[in-house]
């Protein structure tokens, strides 16, 4: 990578984090104006995790996460317009207004969804990894979950099989220190969440989720290793959520001081300061960048507002897929019977 390419890719990291922040601030405002219904879980404070991760993997890698999914979706390349329209419940939304904030899906960007039942998506991640290995592809699956999700049965079952069958999945626990009002130390007996990986014989590491470069580099390294030799990894990513669990949570379970302390470690401020210091970025450029993403966020609201509602027919349209007469089965061969990718 030459110098100007490197500069561009570093600036993109900052741009993407800032875009997520401004998008969500807009979404929050729209929620407060009652333009949005249901749940809204903001990712503010955790942007470096999604952005660094996506920068560290390839577009064909699968990404799957829980309901706090706006950051992952935007980082993955989804547009603000389709994302805002989704929470407005509009037909132009990424899930046609049928999914809502917790269910951002985008097939073309390999965004395999936000999922609303805690832990419910973790077996799906193992399934994506299973499919990649089954097909002999070198795709990696990145699976994100909160610190609260590591205590539910589906987590254990999925990680056990991923470990057993050496599935190419990176399980990232975004330890933002709370599951709703429950501090991580009140929901599992381990001192360090990273130690969970040992039970599934997974190489395990800790990653600083407030440092976008560290996330990018760690995910990049791990992806390279998995592509060479498929096996799952367990990563505890230390981060912090600045807002309540969802819009209805006043977050009284933590002190102002605690929050302020973590806000001093803001991933966006951290990184922009570093880039300024390194001479990669000027104040002017930063202001321009911020103005640009703010304008995009504002535009996304206008787009969402002017978009049509899904038609009433859509209610029954997506319940059952039609039969596919064009489906082409792939003929089996004697060689395949000799393969044993899962070591069974």
């Amino acid at each position: 990578m030459d110098k100007s390419q490197k500069k561009r890719s570093e600036l993109k990291l900052l741009y993407d984090m800032l875009a997520i922040r401004r998008f969500e601030e807009k979404a929050q405002q729209q929620y407060q104006m009652q333009k949005i219904g249901g749940f809204l879980h903001l990712y503010i404070g955790q942007e470096a995790v999604a952005v660094g991760s996506v920068a560290g993997c390839r577009p064909e890698d699968y990404l799957i996460t829980a309901y706090r999914d706006h950051g992952h979706a935007l980082a993955r390349g989804m547009g603000m317009n389709e994302c805002m329209a989704e929470i407005f419940g509009k037909a132009t939304g990424c899930s046609k207004g049928l999914g809502g904030s917790m269910h951002y899906f985008d097939k073309k960007n390999n965004m395999m969804g936000g999922h609303a039942i805690v832990g419910g998506h973790i077996p799906l991640a193992a399934g994506l990894g299973f499919a990649s290995k089954y097909r002999g592809e070198d795709r990696v699956t990145l699976c994100y979950m909160g610190d609260g999700a590591i205590n539910i049965g589906s987590f254990h079952e999925a990680l056990n099989m991923a470990g057993l069958w050496k599935l190419p999945v990176i399980f990232v626990c975004e330890n933002n220190q709370f599951a709703m009002g429950t501090a991580a130390g009140r929901s599992n007996p381990l001192k360090e969440i990273v130690d969970r990986g040992a039970g599934y014989a997974m190489p395990s590491l800790v990653m600083d989720g407030m440092d976008v470069r560290a996330v990018r580099d760690t995910i990049g390294d791990v992806c390279a290793k998995i592509r060479k030799s498929p096996e799952p990894y367990w990563i505890e990513c230390r981060t912090y959520r600045y807002r309540g669990h969802s819009m209805s949570d006043p977050a009284t379970y933590r002190t102002k001081e605690e929050l302020e302390k973590h806000k001093k470690d803001d991933p966006i401020t951290n990184f922009s300061t570093t880039l300024l210091k390194e001479g990669v970025l000027t104040e002017e450029e930063y202001k321009k960048m911020d103005a640009e993403v703010k304008a995009l966020a504002a535009e996304s609201v206008a787009f969402a507002e002017s978009s049509p509602e899904p038609p009433l027919e859509d209610l029954h349209k997506y319940t059952l897929p039609p039969l596919n007469p064009d489906y082409q089965p792939v003929a089996t061969t004697p060689e395949i019977a000799k393969q044993n990718p899962f070591n069974c």
Binding site: G37, G38, F39, E86, G89, K90, S95, G97, L98, G99, G100, M102, H103, H115, A116, I117, V118, G119, G120, G148, A149, N151, I152, G153, S154, A179, M180, G181, T182, R186, S187, N188, Y253, E309, P310, L312, D314, L315, H316, Y318, T319
Partner: protein, 332 residues
């Protein structure tokens, strides 16, 4: 005795407090029930009053803590397990549907599980496909479970208290949309020990022309619909609040239909194998000759819950649909 007006939420809170006070074997376990005072604030103040031994925050591990409750109940404790919503009970389905109701048969009567599973269930507002399941029709298929769905503050309190004292596993399916709903309730213990019997429906409104069978979320809808139909068409609808899905109070239902000869079932679940399917069967089985019209049903549409507000409204049961069904049934 002077009645007070309290909310459905307060009523549940009082029931929990009274039963925790009355019996040391009772404890409350669930996600965010203690320090956070409950995701929907049903357990407000209970940790402070009864302490962390009896009001217990569990990790996000529904199958685990539902099973812990059943195990503890087998040896004499009387757990109240809160599901943040019954949609999350689906990850504990094996415990609720396979362990709790079967223990007694499997052990030849040596063990049983006096446990309460409670929490909001069914339609809410714009929570999407995974968070608003009406689970009553699922659980109703398992003999050995009792299922109640309170629609008023008084029933919320009285049914929950009865559930705690019952020997069977009881599911108290609360209605999130009614948590702030107010109603008159007797004074708290020690002045009054309010117990509403499980298995008794109530006549929420008397009428002579048509019976609307409702429960939970559809009770206030049916009552409003009945008002409107009376005003606009002079039809007197009787509204039955089932209160208890299992056991079902067939007597009250059949008496009403024998009087009105017409039935609209307004249920909050989906129609296929829904509660209304069973009600319809029972009615035609017992009093086929009393029916002057086919039984009509208002339920959810047979689709996943869409997030979009207009589509959600179109897929859920509502007042307009009940009015339309009553008019069709009565031919007006």
């Amino acid at each position: 005795m002077t009645l007070r007006e309290i909310t459905y939420r307060q009523a549940l809170n009082e029931a929990l407090a009274e039963e925790l006070e009355r019996d040391q074997n009772v404890f409350l376990m669930g996600e965010e029930v203690a320090q956070y005072n409950g995701a929907y604030k049903i357990s407000q103040g209970l940790l402070e009053r009864f302490g962390p031994k009896r009001v217990i925050d569990a990790p996000i591990a529904e199958a685990g803590f539902a099973g812990i409750g059943i195990g503890a109940a087998m040896v004499g404790l009387r757990p109240i397990v809160e599901f943040m919503t019954f949609s999350f009970s689906l990850v504990a389905f094996d415990q609720v549907a396979n362990n709790a109701p079967n223990i007694m048969t499997m052990s030849g009567g040596q063990f049983h599980a006096p446990i309460v599973f409670r929490g909001p269930n069914g339609p809410a507002h714009q929570l999407g496909a995974t968070h608003m399941h009406a689970t009553e029709c699922l659980y109703a298929n398992f003999p050995g479970l009792k299922i109640v769905v309170p629609a008023t503050p008084r029933d919320a309190k009285g049914l929950l208290k009865s559930a705690v004292r019952d020997e069977a596993p009881v599911l108290v399916l609360e209605v999130e949309m009614l948590y702030a709903f107010k109603g008159m309730v007797e004074p708290p213990m020690p002045e009054f020990d309010l117990l509403v019997p499980i298995g008794k429906a109530s006549v929420a409104r008397e009428g002579s022309d048509v019976t609307i069978l409702s429960y939970g979320r559809t009770v206030p809808m049916a009552l409003h619909a009945a008002e409107q139909i009376e005003k606009e068409h002079g039809i007197h609808a009787e509204v039955i609040d089932l209160r208890s899905i299992k056991p079902l109070d067939l007597e009250t239902i059949l008496n009403s239909v024998t009087k009105t000869h017409r039935v609209v079932v307004a249920e909050q679940d989906r129609p296929f194998c829904g509660i209304g399917a069973e009600l319809t069967f029972q009615i035609q089985q017992h009093i086929f000759d009393e029916l002057d019209a086919p039984v009509a049903r208002v339920a959810q549409e047979e689709v996943a819950v869409p997030y979009n507000e207009a589509l959600e409204h179109a897929m859920l049961p509502n007042e307009e649909k009940i009015v339309a069904a009553v008019r069709a049934t009565c031919g007006v």
